[in-house]
């Protein structure tokens, strides 16, 4: 017989309890917008870079042929001729072009906003800008230093592996040096997500209490959040590496190969966006559960007293 004590519904649960629920797509407009904004970033970015580079090669009603073999093979020397030959390339900005920079920054902002709208929509709240930006400040205050310290501690693991000096240990240390900063950034992003969602769920009347609650929300479940961040980052990196490896193998010797590369790129971008979406939803479900339990306990206390 299920009782208050044994029911999962009435007990505070860690983030892993909500993974399945978070992974279930809701097919809402917000879901689609979040995922499509990632696709837009990848595709529109590539389109603007391509246009810029074609412009740099264009002259006299035509174009240089320097890039004619680049689909199968790019020589570093060609790249240098391209970079040094074009009179308009003076720095990175002029190389990638203002369109790429503004477009990418604009879509990045859209991605962040759409993630926020997705969370707000799930909670049935309007996605105001204020909790989002204030939550960022909260996360910087309470999350940055502990995350850096955590990174410093975990970084020692990699150093230890390097000290062993064997080839497998070196490889693991190398992969760890890529994974760790990414997973820790992801971990800090979760902190930001918690801070802003917490601000959305209840107005902040006592700022210290708000910060303490947000800090506890992540650090009382440090193992779960860290493992979630690590595993999801590993998954995203594995998918990304697979897509890049495939693109590298196929090249663009034919139009079909190029389109395959683009389709795989888009596919993996969608999958990764889905994983990120599940993290956003996980934070929402986790905090909703925390508040539900707290509210139930308070109600019970009120009834008993």
């Amino acid at each position: 017989m299920e009782t208050f004590q044994t029911s999962n519904e009435y007990s505070p649960q860690g983030p892993w309890a909500f993974v399945k629920k978070s992974l279930t797509p809701t097919c809402s407009r917000e879901d689609a917008e979040f995922i499509l904004s990632w696709v837009a970033f990848a595709v529109a970015g590539a389109w603007s870079l391509k246009s810029r580079w074609l412009d740099l090669m264009a002259y006299s009603n035509g174009s240089s042929m320097l890039a004619q073999d680049w689909g199968t093979r790019l020589s570093g020397n060609d790249l240098v001729y391209f970079l040094k030959g074009s009179p308009t390339i003076t720095n990175v900005e002029s190389f990638v072009g203002p369109v790429f920079i503004f477009l990418s920054l604009g879509i990045l902002f859209l991605i962040l906003r759409n993630g926020w709208r997705l969370q707000a929509h799930t909670l049935g709240q309007p996605a105001h800008f204020s909790p989002w930006i204030k939550g960022l400040g909260d996360a910087l205050i309470i999350g940055l230093l502990p995350t850096i310290l955590l990174g410093w501690l975990l970084g020692w693991l990699g150093d230890g592996l390097r000290w062993i000096g064997t080839l497998p240990a070196m490889w693991v240390a190398f992969l760890w040096s890529i994974l760790l900063p990414m997973a820790l950034t992801s971990f800090w992003m979760i902190q930001w997500s918690i801070c802003r969602v917490q601000r959305l769920i209840g107005p902040v009347t006592d700022y210290k209490h708000h910060l303490r609650f947000c800090l506890n929300a992540i650090w009382k479940n440090i193992g779960s959040w860290l493992s979630l961040a690590m595993i999801s980052t590993t998954l995203r990196l594995a998918l990304s590496y697979g897509a890049l490896w495939g693109a590298w193998r196929w090249g663009a010797g034919t139009s079909a190969a190029l389109w395959s590369v683009i389709l795989i790129q888009v596919g993996v971008t969608i999958l990764n966006a889905g994983i990120l979406r599940s993290l956003l939803m996980n934070v929402v479900h986790f905090l909703s559960n925390q508040h539900f339990v707290l509210k139930t306990v308070e109600d019970l206390k009120r009834r008993v007293l």
Binding site: W38, F41, A42, A46, L49, K50, W53, M57, Y59, S60, G62, S63, S64, M65, L66, A67, Q68, W70, G71, R73, L74, S75, G76, N77, V80, Y81, K84, G85, S86, L108, L112, R162, G165, M170, W171, A173, F174, M182, T185, S186, M189, W192, S193, T233, R236, L237, S240, A243, L244, A247, W248, G251, S255, L258, I262, Q265, T269, A273, L276, L279
Partner: protein
């Protein structure tokens, strides 16, 4: 107290010659004129980063006139203080390397002459351009063919490792550590001060060097160690026991036909060593224990270098080669060459297999020829050692490794570094500019000469150029060649007059820069009033004929060379035309519109500055660009998704 200790020590030094052993004979017939021969006793104090020494210099006047002065290089005085020429020119920096904190005494160094005597009589002298050169006044002039013997006592204080020499924790790199005589040619001494960029120049000779160090240190060194059979265990050892101090030992080293001598030392508990033989050369490789994964790559690079130099120039004649991988905090010592010894350098792990350790090893080994044996003046003509070595390095990296980096879609060719650097400053100083007078030393000494030699190869053909360089290396080894020797040999072997090439590329600052400036379609029409012989006028309607193609080429650089243009016409016909390049621009017309054009299609000019606008097509090559644009943004997207941007 320290001085007193050294004085006492100095008194003891002659007694350390307690057991003279017979030196090995490397060459029955000397390879080089042995003009500067050294017998050196050195006592190293690794705690103080100091060395006390005495040497006997036997110098022969090979000039055409007598000399009553003799210059000694005291290179370590470049690190004596901020007012040396070296420090003034370089401000404590050298090619990305910085000297240690200059507020610490231990960051600085010096070389102090204690006495110079000849036949028991003390000689006086004075400093030259700065304290890195000391001119000795001889008691009497040394006539051509005569030999002079000097006995010199000195002390060296090493700086914190910087610009090739010095200490770092338990590691000591002793380079330019003893007073060294200049080079006397004709009636003139060459003995430049130690400049920030330039390197060295000295005469060949024999070196018998005893280095006294504390027990437990390994010495990596020029020359060969005379081994010692330990009567206790019967084992052959590199170092001899010091009879005066059982806590110290003596390395007895010997070399013939070299012009400098260096050594590095470190505790044998914290240093690894691998010995192997390849093509009759005994190679000793000293490396950091943490770098053990990379050592096979060093070995392969050394073997490839020995093999390729034998194939391209001549067999490495010395019986030994020492390769040192200095510690990471002694990077100021790496990437340097000494006779029979090179400073390589690597890292612990290189997952992407960029051939950086190989490049350094191959380059420094190349210097065994273009510096070690050819021994050109590195101050006056640095391109003859650095440029030729860079050319060797580019070719060796391409031949043995197919480039600096190889992957399925992206490659870095062997000459990538040279091309990149050259294109940054294509109109740098003439190659013949003195090193310390050049504002573009790195480019003028290393990369531009590599490109120029590649250009010469394209001009003469691969086989002829191979013959030229082989002949130059063989004929000029041990003879201090100049660029005129190389020109003479190149002209003799190729049978061509290279005056224009020399004035354009070696002595000049111009660039070879052509481009396709414009491609257009000319409409061709006919008709109009026609007046015949009888004076009758008739009007024919204006009509369009098949259009023609026109291309305008432009010479933007100062170097004038004939260049080939290849075009493909809309009719499918392909044509090649040659432009002498004498004017600044030219038009070529073709009977049909042009659909593709390329300048220098046969790659006659590796040094051509602009290949972006050296080709033209009405249709942009979209697919390759789209591919790379997608790869770049995919990578960026995945990085952002990797960090979990929420």
């Amino acid at each position: 107290m320290k001085r007193l200790f050294y004085r006492l020590l100095l008194g003891l030094l002659p007694f350390t010659l307690w057991a003279q052993t017979s030196n090995p004979v490397w060459f029955k017939t000397p390879l080089a004129p042995r003009l500067a021969n050294y017998e050196i006793e050195a006592y190293v104090n690794p705690v103080e980063h100091a060395l006390k020494g005495s040497l006997k210099l036997t110098w022969k006047n090979a000039g055409t006139e007598a000399t009553d002065k003799l210059p000694l290089h005291l290179y370590l005085n470049a690190f004596k203080g901020p007012n040396s020429i070296f420090m003034q020119e370089g401000s404590g920096k050298l090619r990305g390397d910085r000297m240690g904190d200059d507020s610490f005494e231990s960051s600085w160094g010096y070389c102090r002459l204690l006495s110079v005597t000849s036949e028991g009589r003390k000689l006086s002298g004075s400093y030259g351009e700065d304290e890195s050169v000391y001119w000795i006044n001889l008691m009497q002039a040394v006539a051509p063919g005569e030999t002079l013997t000097l006995e010199i006592q000195w002390e060296s204080q090493f700086p914190r490792v910087f610009a090739r020499t010095g200490w770092s924790d338990g590691f000591l790199m002793a380079a330019q550590w003893f007073p060294k005589v200049g080079v006397y040619q004709g009636s003139q001494w060459t003995s430049d001060a130690h400049h920030a960029d330039t390197e060295f120049f000295s005469d060949f000779g024999t070196y018998a060097v005893n280095v006294n160090v504390p027990r437990g240190f390994w010495l990596a060194h020029s020359g060969e160690a005379i081994s010692y059979i330990d009567p206790v265990d019967g084992l052959k050892k590199d170092a001899w026991p010091d009879p005066a101090d059982d806590k110290r030992m003596i390395y007895k080293l010997y070399a013939e036909d070299i012009h400098d001598f260096a050594f590095a030392m470190k505790s044998n508990l914290d240093w690894k060593r691998r010995d192997f033989s390849y093509r009759g050369v005994k190679v000793s490789l000293f490396y950091e224990p943490s770098h053990h994964l990379m050592i096979d790559r060093h070995v392969a690079a050394i073997e490839a270098s020995l093999r390729l130099t034998e194939e391209w120039y001549f067999k490495y004649p010395y019986p030994v080669l020492t390769v040192v991988d200095p510690p990471e905090n002694a990077s100021g010592a790496d990437g340097m060459e000494y006779p029979t010894m090179i400073m390589a350098g690597t890292n612990a792990f290189d997952p992407l297999k960029f051939r950086i350790p190989e490049v350094v090893t191959v380059h420094e080994f190349g210097h065994q020829y273009f510096y070690g044996m050819l021994a050109s003046n590195e101050v006056d003509e640095p391109w003859l050692d650095e440029g030729f070595t860079s050319y060797f390095e580019s070719k060796a990296m391409q031949r043995h490794y197919s480039g600096l980096f190889n992957s399925r879609r992206f490659q870095l060719p062997g000459n990538f570094q040279s091309l990149t650097s050259y294109l940054m400053t294509p109109n740098s100083d003439p190659l013949t500019r003195k090193g310390y007078e050049s504002a573009t030393y790195g480019n003028t000494a290393y990369t531009k000469p590599d490109m120029v030699l590649q250009q010469l190869e394209a001009l003469l053909g691969h086989t002829t150029m191979s013959n030229v360089v082989t002949t130059y290396a063989r004929e000029m080894a041990f003879k201090h060649p100049t660029h005129l020797d190389f020109k003479r040999i190149a002209e003799r072997i190729s049978g061509r007059n290279l005056d224009i090439f020399w004035s354009d590329y070696i002595m000049g600052t111009g660039t070879l820069d052509y481009q396709i400036e414009r491609v257009s379609v000319l409409s061709v029409r006919e008709g109009g009033w026609n007046i015949n012989r009888e004076g009758d006028a008739s009007f024919e309607s204006i009509r369009e004929l098949l259009p023609q193609g026109r291309i305008k080429l432009e010479r933007r650089g100062d170097i004038v060379s004939p260049i080939t243009l290849w075009v493909k016409l809309s009719t499918g016909e392909e044509r090649k035309v040659r432009w002498d390049g004498k004017d600044r621009w030219v038009h070529f017309d073709f009977p049909a519109p042009i659909v593709q054009a390329q300048l220098d299609p046969d790659y006659e000019y590796p040094i051509l500055r602009d290949r972006l606008y050296a080709s033209w097509s009405p249709k942009a090559p979209t697919r390759g660009i789209a591919y790379w644009a997608h790869l770049v943004t995919t990578f960026l997207t995945y990085c952002l998704q990797g960090i979990g941007l929420l």
